[in-house]
């Protein structure tokens, strides 16, 4: 975690739901080739990169993609820890323009922690294709923070994003944030606990929670979030779980909620309802879905790809085509490579002969190491170079989730999910190749004997 702040470098956290093009924004801003993939929360450790703009240096920290800051998974915990305790100068939250309603939940939760936030509405081009138009100015007013529209893949809007990061970090652009108003019962409890937290904070000269809003901590305490108290202890050294005044006020508010029929799940429901309803209201104000044709066409294709009659045959046909192209297509470059490596091996024999190396050394280096290595490269490289681009094509077309959807019931019987079908697809093709090459070489050996 990047806690030591370089005096000149401004630390910017990059947050967002999984699959919103967060890593694309990261790469486009920093130019650093960070691996991008399509699985939820693949950025487990915080990756960081730097860029400079208008003569100032920025450190961009890519935090794991999450749906919420409730910390129910290690990824969410890591994301929350960085936003709360990593002292970022500002946080950029990347939102998927095609699915803004759900994405706003995270933005609102981040705003609860800290109001130095910039919203980056990404995938504007995709949204346009789907006939979704977003009033960015209205969104900015509703959220009380600057909003930038981008299409990171084509680079649209990134300069503006840098400008705004610069302005917010330098303090020339103010962010106001927005407050989620919860149910009345919950609100009175929050203000009660918040008061206690503020008194505690004063004792520590306001240093204890300087970047985190006490309202957020109060809410998490009422929600019985032990991970947050643990994190506060880890990062500030103050064990609020054992602070009597805080414990008392949290206990009494939980008791009063309990008396009105709200237990653990009920409290959580109220909190999430507050967030979701606010997101829904903002969404209704700022978004206009003009043309449903695209999604209707999408659904028609989906019906075709996943129906009882055609779903599985189409999938098997596609697999067959891919396997055929991979296995047959790989033969030619494989043979070429084998031939080239055999040539090199011949030269190596000559070279080792020239330097009078003992037979055991020649055997070890040439027959052992070189031959095995070249065999593996010749067999594995061409099919991989063919298969993975094809796989990427399927991913870009969005067919992979449909495979998972079609296959789920089979994998459910083995206690796993349809997503594993994709892993098995890769493993299967590798096995196929190894077995094929192995029998091939055995056969060749027999012939030569």
């Amino acid at each position: 975690m990047n806690n030591e702040k370089d005096e000149k470098s401004i630390v910017v956290a990059l947050a967002g739901n999984p699959n919103v093009g967060k890593s694309t924004v990261f790469n486009a801003l920093t130019g650093m080739k960070q691996h991008t993939g399509n699985w939820a929360g693949k950025t487990v450790a915080n990756a960081s990169g730097t860029f400079s703009h208008k003569g100032r240096n920025f450190t961009l920290v890519d935090i794991p993609g999450t749906y919420s800051l409730m910390a129910s998974s290690p990824d969410e915990e890591a994301a929350r820890e960085f936003i709360c305790f990593g002292n970022p100068d500002c946080t950029v939250v990347v939102l998927d323009a095609t699915c803004l309603e759900r994405n706003l939940n995270l933005a609102l939760q981040i705003l609860e922690v800290n109001k130095n936030v910039i919203a980056c509405v990404n995938l504007l081009d995709e949204a346009k294709k789907k006939g979704i138009s977003i009033d960015l100015d209205e969104l900015s007013l509703e959220l009380g923070i600057p909003v930038v529209g981008t299409s990171a893949r084509s680079g649209y809007g990134l300069t503006e994003l840098k400008d705004i990061i610069y302005d917010v970090a330098a303090g020339t652009k103010q962010t106001f944030g927005t407050k989620i108003i919860y149910d009345d019962k919950l609100e009175s409890c929050i203000s009660e606990v918040e008061k206690t937290l503020c008194t505690l904070n004063e004792k520590y000269d306001e240093k204890l929670f300087k970047d985190i809003s006490t309202r957020f901590i109060a809410l998490r305490l009422i929600d019985f979030d032990e991970k947050l108290t643990k994190s506060i202890e880890d990062f500030t050294g103050c064990n609020i779980a054992e602070n009597e005044s805080i414990n008392n006020s949290v206990d009494s508010s939980r008791k009063s909620l309990c008396n009105s029929g709200l237990h653990q799940d009920g409290i959580r429901d109220l909190i999430v309802e507050g967030i979701v309803n606010k997101a829904r209201r903002i969404y209704a104000h700022c978004i206009c879905v003009c043309d449903c044709c695209y999604s209707r066409r999408d659904r028609k294709i989906d019906k075709f790809l996943t129906s009882k009659l055609t779903g599985i045959p189409i999938m098997l046909l596609l697999f067959g085509v891919i396997f055929y192209i991979t296995i047959i297509g790989a033969n030619y470059p494989s043979e070429l490579l084998s031939y080239a490596f055999a040539q090199v091996q011949g030269w190596l024999y000559i070279f080792f002969d020239l330097i009078h190396s003992p037979p055991f050394l020649t055997g070890l280096l040439v027959d052992g190491m070189f031959k095995t290595l070249s065999w593996v490269v010749a067999v594995m490289l061409p099919p991989m170079a063919i298969f993975f681009p094809l796989f990427t094509l399927l991913e870009d077309l969005g067919y992979l989730p449909r495979i998972a959807f079609n296959m789920d019931s089979f994998f459910a019987r083995a206690g796993t999910s349809g997503k594993q079908a994709l892993t098995m697809l890769i493993v299967y093709i590798i096995l196929q190749l190894v077995v094929k090459k192995h029998t091939h070489s055995l056969f060749a050996k027999k012939l030569s004997q």
Binding site: R102, A279, G311
Partner: protein, 80 residues
């Protein structure tokens, strides 16, 4: 009104409704809440998987597939 209440797995393809109550507990409940499934959320059943077990739903702007055992824990107020 009460006759419109049913669990999500009983919602036929093409039908829609709004969430009335979540019965799931623990981690699964959190996942559902993360998806935006709270009281009043609009849900539409889009399609079933080839084996007819998994169903894809339209939930707050996204298409999400749920297994019947998970969908059973969501009580829906069906739109007529």
């Amino acid at each position: 009104m009460d006759s419109n209440l049913l669990s999500l797995d009983n919602l036929a393809v093409g039908e829609s409704g709004s969430v009335h109550e979540l019965l799931s507990k623990g981690n699964l409940r959190r996942r559902m809440l993360d998806l935006g499934l709270v009281r009043g959320t609009y849900v539409e059943s889009l399609m079933k998987s080839p084996t007819g077990k998994l169903t894809a739903y339209f939930i707050s702007g996204a298409v999400i597939a749920l297994r019947p055992e998970d969908a059973r824990c969501i009580i829906i107020n069906k739109n007529l």
